[in-house]
Every structure is written in structure tokens, then in C-alpha cells.
């Protein structure tokens, strides 16, 4: 099996899994209970909260644990108190949990010009950035791996409108890249655990301001998110922090190596580079629909993503790739490759060979004839 869909979800880091086992076994009590068993969990949660705050270099503000980045994004957007007609800067085809909560609020969406290239983006930041009331944006675009210049965007926006609120979803970058909130100046930052070796069902939201709770009840997490905190999940996730602190550089070296292997060992027409991180990038397969090729790979136990790209089923809906700097000619021909902590060069080599084989084969059958 070759799993190159780590951006969708990845394997648990060994320490995380070990802690999960242990903590679920022994930390069964309720962290809100006042007895000893509850208190040790509560202390653990507070200690971990501080670890996370310092991991993302936050000097002020609060961090709460919740169930998913989707929940975090909803809560943050809910707390922005957006009014109809307000302007919000977003990315084209960003994650749905950043787009859907905006839909009912009747705000005007302003799209960041992802497809304008480096110079276009710089020009936009320097000269064209409009007044916006809020920014709701991913740190890394989940389909293309483009790394957003968050600090520059926030600076440009704040130059026009001092009070605009900024939410950044850092799920795809957390751990693998240094997240420095003090540099960003963001008001809200959401992070999901399971994209970087943590368990599913746990995420966190950093907030500079008070949140407007969506769940009412016992008032846990500073009254912002009622629910019994899940210490075993928080506990296990915290073990991912030292891993990334020490392995980050190695991971990037590895990713670069694997990406290069794929670049060199596939047909030049398959590999069309897009500026972004090395561990998450699109592959373009001219003439062949991405989902068909993905299913061929699937039958060889090679797993990649065509996720919310463009299944041929919905070919009538507009492909996101048009807005992401990929030639519209290729909008149905994209696969997303993403590496994780366990990906290795043998996998990359095999992958390159197999995809080239299927590509050639399929061209004969369904390519331009």
C-alpha cells in the first residue's frame, strides 16, 4: 500500500497512539470532578493548553480545545458578529468549513487572487487590497499546497481597516511548518489534530477575543465551549508537538526528496509545478480525468486524493482549479499528492512508475483519439 493522501488524514504518531491507549484506559474520570482523579486531568489540560500556546508563539489570548477544525471555524466565525453586507476576504475553493458558515450571513465575499502569480499577489497586497471587515482564510490551500503570506495579508488588510478580524485555519500547516501567531496578528487560529499525527475528534481554537459560544451547558473551556473535555485526546495530541519540533526539518528534506523523485521519474507532462509546500501538491495528468486515474491507482492499493477537485460526475460545476492558477484546460485532470511522517522514497519511486504506466495505458483508451 502506498498512502499519499496524508493531507486528508494521516497515521497516528507512535507516541500519540501509545498515550491514547494509556490515557483512555486510566483517565476515565471527569476532568470537572473535584476529586483527585478529576483534578489530575484538569491540571493536565491546563498544562497542555500552555504548551500549545507557546508552540504557536501566542503571547496573549486564550486557547480552547474542541472537537474539530470545522467546529472551531464555525465558533470563530460566529464570534465575529458579521452583519449582512460586510466584506470578507476569502480564498477561492477554500475548505468548506470556512465557506459554509459565511453563506447564511449574507456577507460580500472578496476573493484573494490566488491565480495571479507571485507578482500579481504582491501587487494586490501593495496596491489593490480593498477595505474588508474580516479575513477567513487557510494557512495552506488544501488543494494546491500554496502557502499563503498570512502576515503580509493581515498587514495589508489592517492598513485599510484597523479593526478587521482575522481567522486562519492552520490545520494543513500545524507542526510541519512553524506557526508564529505573534507574527501573523490573527485574531483566531484553528487547528485540527488529525492532519499532523494527532487523533481525530480533537482540535483547538486560539482566540484573542471572547467567543460567542454555540454550545451551552456546563461552561467548560472559559464558558466558550460546554462539553466534557476529552483529556485522553488532548493528552495524546500533545505528544505530537515535540515530534514536530525535532523532526520538522527532516520532514521537509524528505518531502522535497520525494517530490523531486516524482518530478523526475514521471513524464514531464504529468508534473506541472505550482509554488507551494513540498508535502502537498497537485499532479496534472493531461487528457485523463483525475478520478479515473485515481481509481486505477486505487486498484493497485495506491491512494491519492481527487478530493473536492472535480469528479467527472459533477463536471458541470465549476472546477476550483480555475481559480487556483492551474490552466483551465486541465481542470478535470488533477490529483492531489500529500506526504506524511512515514512516506519514503521507495514509495515515491513505485508511485511514479505505476502512475506513468497507467497514464500511458489510459491515454491509448480514453486520451485524444
Amino acid at each position: 500500500m502506498i498512502y499519499f493522501d496524508h493531507a486528508a488524514s494521516t497515521t497516528l504518531l507512535p507516541d500519540v497512539l501509545e498515550t491514547l491507549r494509556e490515557s483512555y484506559y486510566k483517565d476515565f474520570a471527569n476532568p470537572s470532578s473535584s476529586h483527585h482523579l478529576g483534578r489530575i486531568q484538569k491540571d493536565g489540560i491546563e498544562k497542555t493548553r500552555q504548551e500549545f500556546l507557546s508552540f504557536i508563539k501566542a503571547n496573549e489570548g486564550k486557547l480552547i480545545f474542541l472537537s474539530s477544525a470545522t467546529e472551531a471555524n464555525n465558533l470563530a466565525i460566529n464570534s465575529m458578529k458579521l452583519k449582512p453586507g460586510m466584506k470578507v476576504l476569502v480564498l477561492p475553493s477554500d475548505h468548506l468549513s470556512l465557506r459554509e458558515p459565511l453563506v447564511n450571513r449574507n456577507v460580500d465575499l472578496i476573493y484573494f487572487p490566488l491565480n495571479q502569480g507571485k507578482e500579481g499577489i504582491e501587487d494586490w497586497l501593495d496596491n489593490q487590497c480593498p477595505h474588508v471587515d474580516a479575513v477567513v482564510i487557510s494557512m495552506i490551500h488544501g488543494l494546491t499546497g500554496q502557502l499563503l503570506p498570512i502576515d503580509k495579508i493581515v498587514k495589508a488588510v489592517r492598513k485599510k481597516s484597523k479593526l478587521s478580524l482575522v481567522l486562519v485555519d492552520a490545520s494543513q500547516g500545524f507542526g510541519k511548518l512553524k506557526v508564529d501567531i505573534s507574527q501573523w496578528g490573527a485574531d483566531f487560529v484553528s487547528v485540527s489534530a488529525h492532519k499532523s499525527g494527532g487523533p481525530k475528534g480533537i482540535a483547538c481554537l486560539y482566540a484573542k477575543h471572547d467567543l460567542v459560544p454555540m454550545l451551552l451547558g456546563g461552561g467548560q473551556e472559559y464558558q466558550f465551549r460546554s462539553s466534557t473535555p476529552v483529556w485522553p485526546l488532548i493528552n495524546a495530541w500533545s505528544k505530537a508537538l515535540p515530534y514536530w519540533e525535532f523532526q520538522r526539518d527532516k520532514f521537509h528534506e524528505k518531502s522535497k526528496e520525494l517530490k523531486t523523485i516524482i518530478e523526475e521519474e514521471t513524464k514531464p507532462e504529468i508534473f506541472i509545478p505550482i509554488e507551494g509546500v513540498d508535502y502537498l501538491f497537485p499532479l496534472i495528468v493531461p487528457q485523463i480525468q483525475g478520478d479515473i486515474l485515481a481509481r486505477y491507482l486505487d486498484s493497485d492499493h495506491i491512494y491519492v486524493s481527487t478530493s473536492n477537485a472535480c469528479s467527472s460526475t459533477h463536471s458541470k460545476t465549476i472546477s476550483p482549479y480555475r481559480d487556483l492558477g492551474i490552466d483551465p484546460h486541465y481542470e478535470h485532470n488533477v490529483l492531489r499528492i500529500s506526504f506524511g511522517a512515514t512516506s519514503n522514497s521507495l514509495e515515491a519511486k513505485t508511485f511514479a512508475r505505476v502512475i506513468s504506466f497507467h497514464y500511458e495505458n489510459l491515454k491509448k483508451i480514453i486520451g485524444k483519439r
Binding site: Q289, D291, I292, R295, Y296, D298, S299, S311, S312, T313, H314, N361, K364, I365, I366, R369
Partner: protein
């Protein structure tokens, strides 16, 4: 005739069913066998719905069934789908006494809030009953008018018909006659394999053949990996509706992309579509040998698409070992869509999905296939191993007559 649900005036306490069997008079020689099949089908429905009949009796063209509990709406709707049933009355049984009949009738009518016009229709099967049917009807009608002064009599085109049937043992009262789909009991015409495609046509073809008493299993050729899994879900939902016209049906989902790939690589581009169809039929034959199907059913309609031209259909007929039944051959698309709507399958068929044929289709498909090329290609490329392999890898689902699909992978060891 529409089998889509209807809302009628109905008796809440109806616990007897009078079923009129369709077309049975045509078949006096086989009557017993036909009755048996229809009875088995109805009993299977009882079993699935956990209904108990206290008596089940056949009388000429009618079947009288009495139940311990009132009949449910769902049961009546399911009954409409059993081929061979012309119509049926859900009725209340009372002792053979006029006064009692009137008392029960009025009590039941009160719950239905009848309005508009009505008439009473009496059938005196027991000629010894003291008053004749005309008198019986007028007495009942009189009491109804007294109790519901707003109702008016209209013997020609009434809103409500009160049916009274007088037998030796009882009087049966009913206010609704429900129409079934008619035709012949399923299984009475044999057993066939129906090719489903994901479009509108083949489900309608299956329905029409079910009405003619043909028991069917269904086969779908899944062009994975050229298409995804969405289409399988669609086919399953379509088959689950078609299964409600059958008793014990099955759905075979056969992975066919590999075979299509092999065909595409070896044949002239223009012949892809017709050759795909040819090898689908051949695969059906292999399955039929094992399962004993006597014919194949397709949704072909003459000249609807290029693979359905007369010459292309003839080529397939020539090479097929089995009769290919094409009940839609002379229907227009609009007729087919109307039927699809009537059997409640239109909305399922209109769900979009990947289409492998479109994907692999040649730019200019052959409309007049040359027999010589087809015969030569087939002789050189039997693909039997691939076809057997695809059957071996097929997913099989059983379909209950309530439309529930369940996995059934017991039957494919020997391909």
C-alpha cells in the same frame, strides 16, 4: 394506470381482502399453476409484513383473504405491485344481515367524512339472500342519505362507490376498489436476466416484463475504474424498486472496466460501443447457463441511439444464444418516461452519474455494424477468461419484495 400512492376514502377497520385475478380466464388449462404462483407471491408479502391471514380461499377469478388485524396502507400499496392482480377491495366482513351491515357501514363512513356524490353497488352471490341486490342497494342508500344529508346520489359518475357483496356466510362492505398492475403472476412466464444500465429505459423494460409474468434477476455492468461508485448506489436503488414487482430477485454488479479496456485496445474505435454490448450479452450467457435464465431483457428502443439501429440490434441477435426481449422497442422516449414516472422510478433514474459509454465512446460510432468484422473480432477475441473473472468478482445482492437489498455472495464460486 399509476401505482404511485393514492389517497382514497377507506375503511380503517377493513380486515378482508377480495382480490380479482387478471387474465386468468385466458388460461383455463394452467389455472392451478397460476393460482399457486400468485398465492405464493401474496403469501410472501404476508410473511415479510408479518401478517397473518385467518382464511385464504380461491373462488373462480377471486381470492378472498381474511385477516386478524385491519389492513395497513403500506400493505395495500405493496399489493398494487404484484403482477397478476387486476384489482382488489379492502372490505369489512359482517354477518349476513341487512341491519347489521347498515350499522357497521354507517359507523365506518362517519370516520371517512364522505362528501359529494355516491352510489351503492350490490352483488348478491348468495341468491338465497331474502332481498335482491336492487332492494339491498336502495335500503343501504336510504340510510346513508339519512345519516349524511349532504351526500347526493349519482349512479353514473359518483365520487364514492359503496360495494356490498352478499355471500352465504357474510356480507362484505367496501368503499374502495384499488387497481393492481394486472398481467400474469410473476414466474408464470419463466425466468430471465435483465440488463440494467443506469438510464431510464431498462427499469421500464423490466417492469413491463414483470407484468407479463417474467421472473427476473438483474445485472449491471460496472465500468470501474472508468466510472466511480456513485452509479452502483444508483443501480441498487433502482433495483430495489424493481425487486418489489418480483418475489425473490437478485442483482449482480459485474466489474466490467477491464473487459472494456481490452476490447477498446483491440477493436476499431467505431465498434467499441457495439462490442461492449456484445460482450455484455456473452457474459449474461455465461451467467444464464449457470442460473437457468431463459432469456435476456434489455431496454432497447429502435434507433434511439446509434447502438440501437436495426442493423446493430440484428448483429447482436445473430450472435446471442438467448432470445433478447426488448419490450420498449416500439415506444417513444416520452412513453418510456411516462411509464417511468408511473412506476415511481423516474426520480431515481434521473440522478446523474458517470457514464463510461460516453467516456469510451468513439467520436463517430458505427451505426451499421458489419457482420463480417464483428464475427471475425469475436472469433479472435473470445475474452472468456476475462468475462468469467468479472463474474467471479461480481457483487451479488438479494432483493426482498419489499425492496430491501442484502448481500448474497454465496453463489459465485464456480466461475
Amino acid at each position: 394506470m399509476s401505482i404511485v400512492e393514492t389517497k382514497n376514502v377507506s375503511f380503517t377497520k377493513a380486515n378482508t381482502l377480495i382480490v380479482n385475478v387478471d387474465e386468468l380466464w385466458l388460461k383455463s388449462g394452467n389455472r392451478n399453476g397460476y393460482h399457486k404462483m400468485l398465492k405464493a407471491h401474496i403469501k410472501e408479502l404476508f410473511r415479510k409484513l408479518d401478517l397473518k391471514s385467518s382464511s385464504f380461499c380461491e373462488q373462480g377469478q377471486r381470492v378472498w383473504i381474511e385477516f386478524e388485524k385491519p389492513l395497513s396502507h403500506f400493505f395495500l400499496e405493496s399489493l398494487k405491485k404484484i403482477p397478476g392482480i387486476h384489482s382488489f377491495w379492502p372490505a369489512i366482513k359482517v354477518i349476513p344481515c341487512l341491519d347489521k351491515a347498515i350499522e357497521v357501514l354507517l359507523e365506518q363512513l362517519k370516520q371517512c367524512h364522505p362528501s359529494g356524490t355516491f352510489k351503492v353497488e350490490t352483488q348478491r352471490i348468495n341468491k338465497l339472500f331474502p332481498i335482491n341486490s336492487f332492494e339491498f342497494s336502495s335500503k343501504v342508500g336510504h340510510h346513508v342519505l339519512v345519516e349524511f344529508p349532504k351526500l347526493k346520489v349519482d349512479v353514473h359518475n359518483p365520487d364514492l362507490v359503496i360495494w356490498c357483496k352478499i355471500t352465504k356466510q357474510a356480507i362484505y362492505l367496501s368503499v374502495e376498489k384499488l387497481m393492481g398492475i394486472g398481467g400474469l403472476p410473476v414466474g408464470s412466464s419463466g425466468k430471465a436476466l435483465t440488463l440494467l444500465s443506469g438510464g431510464f429505459d431498462s427499469p421500464v423494460a423490466s417492469y413491463l416484463m414483470a407484468r407479463r409474468g417474467l421472473a427476473q434477476h438483474f445485472i449491471f455492468f460496472h465500468a470501474y475504474p472508468f466510472v466511480g461508485m456513485d452509479v452502483v448506489e444508483k443501480i441498487k436503488s433502482v433495483a430495489s424498486v424493481l425487486g418489489t414487482f418480483q418475489q425473490h430477485s437478485k442483482l449482480y454488479i459485474v466489474p466490467f472496466g477491464k473487459v472494456q479496456e481490452d476490447i477498446s485496445k483491440h477493436c476499431w474505435d467505431e465498434y467499441r460501443t457495439i462490442l461492449f454490448r456484445l460482450y455484455m450479452l456473452k457474459t449474461c450467457e455465461l451467467l444464464s447457463h449457470q442460473k437457468g435464465f431463459q432469456a435476456l431483457v434489455t431496454g432497447d428502443s429502435l434507433s434511439q441511439v446509434s447502438s440501437q439501429t436495426l442493423s446493430n440490434l440484428s448483429v447482436l441477435d445473430k450472435i446471442s444464444e438467448y432470445s433478447i426481449l426488448r419490450p420498449l422497442i416500439g415506444l417513444n422516449k416520452r412513453d418510456i418516461l411516462n411509464l417511468s414516472q408511473q412506476i415511481g422510478i423516474y426520480s431515481l433514474s434521473s440522478v446523474g452519474h458517470d457514464d463510461a459509454c460516453a467516456l469510451l465512446a468513439p467520436k463517430k460510432p458505427e451505426v451499421a455494424a458489419k457482420w463480417s468484422y464483428i464475427a471475425e473480432f469475436f472469433a479472435q477475441n473470445q475474452f472468456e477468461t476475462q468475462m468469467r473473472q468479472s463474474l467471479k468478482e461480481a457483487k451479488v445482492f438479494g432483493i426482498s419484495l419489499l425492496g430491501h437489498l442484502y448481500e448474497d455472495n454465496s453463489s459465485f464460486a464456480d466461475f
